[in-house]
């Protein structure tokens, strides 16, 4: 009962903001927004690997990832970014959010059900300008502000199955949802004129499917997952705008890990997402390309703190982002170095993982360059 209450409280806490991803980059302003990685702090400490670790763990990437969990569990991840823009047109900013919350519950010896909710596309950004207008023969100051709020989130329900002694498989269904609210303000400072505010809201809807598998050997593990299918629809609540549809990309993740020493593990993963399928849909805003990510890291488990294991992690990541910043610029890339650690409490009933990242996105040829610090904190609770 106590555990159930705690899990409930954790779910409520995380669901407060998991669906509405908060902005992490100015790149949210381009294409369909900034694609987000639904991974926890352990994975982020290892460069942001999306799958491939040997032990059972809840995952929004691989529906087979939780197979092997002996008891029900819940994982909540908190993330905070501090982003510094390099251009004159942007300000520094910091963000905080719960990018992913997930739960898994074993059913019998071989099945594991899972439910997760995570951010997929971040569409939070704003732009302002100051100018003046000629009204009644005199110049009147104006301030314009466009603000996009919202994004796309994904509710994933899936099941994993322990198929063979070393092979687990899983399938999942994704329900995409979200709201993008555009608000356009014009204010007239000091003039006594009423400000004008126009709001337009789009509802995102879509359906997708996923499947995954994991092979666990004695010294190394391999995993692969695929998701995609269907379209992402933006239905306008305002009659003055037109609904749009975008092809959801097929995404393929592969990864693996190997124990290189008794207390050291190396893990790598790669991702390909076929965003170029939406290139035509997004042609007016610069188009889209296939996104790609390679990540890897090392975990050392030899450290102990207060008698508890204290795994340390180091990693790195390179990613090709799908949406262009300017119509004639190059597509942006992202590079990051990561580090992290974990702590186990209650004999494994609770795990706290912490990671930090330092990275850069874009560059001169892209037209935007920003650097970021990111801290992630994941709390995983098992209902023992």
């Amino acid at each position: 009962m106590t555990i159930a209450r705690t899990l409930g409280a954790a779910a409520a806490l995380s669901l407060l903001s998991a669906g509405s991803a908060h902005a992490q980059s100015l790149l949210s302003a381009r294409g369909l927004g900034l694609p987000l990685e639904p991974v926890d702090a352990r994975a982020r400490g290892l460069g942001g690997i999306s799958l491939g670790l040997p032990d059972p763990a809840m995952s929004l990437v691989n529906p087979a990832g939780a197979v092997g969990l002996a008891v029900a569990g819940l994982s909540v991840t908190f993330q905070s970014d501090n982003v510094a823009g390099e251009g004159e047109d942007s300000d520094d900013f910091s963000t905080a959010r719960f990018p992913v919350v997930q739960a898994a519950f074993p059913i019998g010896e071989r099945f594991v059900g899972m439910l997760g909710y995570g951010a997929v596309l971040d569409q939070n950004w704003a732009v302002t300008r100051e100018d003046s207008l000629d009204i009644s023969g005199s110049r009147t100051a104006i301030v314009d502000r466009f603000r996009s709020s919202g994004g796309v989130a994904r509710l994933r329900a899936g099941a994993g199955y322990h198929l063979l002694p070393r092979l687990d498989v899983g399938v999942a269904m994704d329900i995409y949802s979200g709201v993008a609210a555009d608000t356009i303000f014009r204010v007239f400072p000091g003039s006594g004129f009423s400000p004008s505010v126009t709001a337009t809201t789009y509802e995102w809807r879509g359906l997708g499917f996923g499947a995954g598998a994991r092979w666990r050997g004695d010294a190394f593990s391999l995993a692969a997952a695929v998701s995609g299918g269907g379209t992402l629809k933006a239905a306008a609540r305002d009659s003055g705008v037109v609904d749009r549809e975008y092809t959801l990309p097929v995404q393929v993740d592969v990864g693996g890990s190997a124990r290189i020493a008794q207390q050291a593990l190396v893990a790598v993963s790669g991702r390909w997402a076929g965003w170029s399928a939406a290139d035509e849909d997004l042609a007016a805003s610069g188009g889209a390309r296939d996104a790609m990510q390679v990540a890897g890291g090392v975990e050392y488990e030899g450290m102990r703190f207060l008698g508890r294991p204290l795994p340390l992690r180091l990693g790195g990541r390179f990613a090709r982002l799908p949406f262009r910043w300017t119509e004639d610029g190059e597509f942006p890339d992202e590079r990051a170095l990561t580090a992290g650690l974990g702590m186990v409490f209650g004999g494994g009933a609770a795990t706290l993982d912490l990671s930090g990242e330092r990275g850069v996105r874009g560059g001169d040829a892209v037209g935007l360059e920003e650097s970021f610090w990111r801290v992630s904190l994941s709390l995983s609770l098992l209902g023992r």
């Binding site: 903001s17 047109d89 300000d91 719960f98 356009i184 400000p195 849909d281 409490f345 609770a350 709390l379």
Partner: protein
């Protein structure tokens, strides 16, 4: 139990971490960063009077001089207006108290000595300095509620004209010259013997006038600081008692406040002129940027930044122009067919407006009213342009304001901007 504490603590730590971190929207700047179609377009449209307003007539006579919290003095101001103030003081003491050798004493035998008549001056309503205010003893009975320039009493049962129009005057009690137009008071010394007479219950009070022609002044307050010397006190003991007029003061003036010429909008003044107007604010405006060709759209389809009636003041004859700021309000008239006696409803301007002498245009903001009318067909379209202060029935100013019969309607609006999805 220990595990429960552990989980709760970890969750609390997570919640605290989330709460402690700022969450800001990444913000770009510059026009070129706005998505296509997301920069609003603001336009200004001027609509002539014939298309939005119709005057149903100007009326006055809703207040009289005794209602005003001020009195006015004028002497052939602008060659026409003469005004005298009448005041009768009440509340003179029957006995006085004073302290002698630490003990409080009372004396019903006392003498008035030279005292001070203090006139509170509205420095914004002084036309021409220097001007000399004269204090005359009134020698004819008058009624504050009915006295006019020619009638001392004009009630149902008593119609008594002045022997001398403007208030029958006796002896000149005192006079004092105001030299500083920014002064907020004028103090006039009144001889003790004159105060003695004013304190008599049969006194008719005083008449205040201006000596020089072409001058005018609004006096906000009239009070007498009577200096009293008790008979039983030492000769150097003087007690000051403030005596006021209460309701017994008024202004008599000639000529009567002028009516507005046909079509002209008259507002305010001592007789509280008002003009009934029929407004048609359901206008249409171009639905595109200036220079582009497009159809008209109703106001309900645009964002109203300001809708304002622009009034151009015209000259008020007979010296009745306002010297100070005239507060202006627009009140709903629900039963316009009642004409001059139609009751007034709620105020309809976005904010309080005053018309100051020298203003070339008065802007009456009716943005909220326009939006309301656009959304609700059942609201009456008739309004009264009045001069009033909130919660006060008195006429705010002695002078009135007249406005040109061809006002304009200025609509500043912003077209709805929308970003098409990428």
């Amino acid at each position: 139990m220990q595990r429960r504490f552990l989980f709760s603590g970890l969750l609390a730590a997570l919640a605290l971490a989330a709460g402690a971190c700022a969450d800001e929207t990444p913000t770009l700047s510059g026009e070129d960063q706005f998505p296509p179609g997301s920069i609003p377009i603001t336009r200004e449209v001027i609509i002539p009077a014939s298309e939005f307003i119709r005057s149903l007539g100007s009326f006055s006579g809703y207040t009289s001089a005794v209602d005003a919290p001020y009195v006015v003095l004028a002497n052939q101001y602008e060659g026409a207006l003469s005004a005298h103030a009448l005041a009768r003081f009440t509340g003179f003491p029957i006995n006085v108290s004073y302290v002698r050798n630490g003990a409080t004493r009372q004396d019903s035998f006392f003498t008035y000595v030279d005292s001070r008549l203090v006139l509170g001056v509205d420095s914004a309503a002084v036309a021409g300095v220097p001007l000399t205010v004269q204090v005359w003893e009134a020698v004819q009975r008058w009624d504050a509620f009915s006295a006019t320039w020619t009638m001392a009493v004009d009630t149902a049962g008593d119609r008594t004209p002045w022997t001398e129009p403007g208030g029958t005057r006796g002896a000149l009690i005192a006079q004092q010259t105001l030299t500083d137009a920014d002064a907020d008071s004028l103090v006039i010394t009144i001889p003790g013997a004159a105060v003695e007479r004013l304190a008599d219950s049969t006194s008719n009070g005083i008449v205040l006038t201006i000596a020089e022609t072409g001058k005018r002044i609004d006096v906000a307050d009239v009070l007498l600081r009577a200096a009293i010397r008790p008979d039983s006190a030492s000769p150097d003991t003087t007690i000051i008692v403030t005596v006021r007029t209460g309701p017994f003061r008024t202004t008599v003036y000639t000529p009567e406040q002028p009516d507005a010429p046909m079509g002209t909008f008259a507002v305010g003044g001592i007789r509280s002129a008002r003009t009934l107007l029929e407004l048609d604010l359901e206008q249409t405006v171009p639905g595109c940027a200036e220079g582009e060709t497009c159809g008209e759209v109703p106001l309900s389809e645009v964002q109203l930044n300001q809708v304002a009636i622009l009034l151009r003041p015209t000259t008020v004859p007979s010296g009745f122009g306002a010297l100070n700021s005239v507060p202006i309000a627009l009140r709903l008239v629900e039963e316009p067919e009642l004409g001059r006696v139609a009751p007034l409803g709620q105020t309809s301007l976005d904010r309080d407006i005053t018309f100051a002498p020298g203003d070339t245009v008065v802007v009456l903001p009716v943005t909220s009213l326009t939006a309301t009318l656009a959304a609700n067909d059942s609201i009456p379209r008739t309004f009264a342009l009045v001069s009033e202060l909130p919660q006060i029935d008195a006429p705010p100013t002695f002078g009135a304001a007249f406005f040109d019969p061809a006002p304009r309607l200025r609509i500043i609006y912003t077209l709805r901007a929308r970003r098409p999805l990428p």
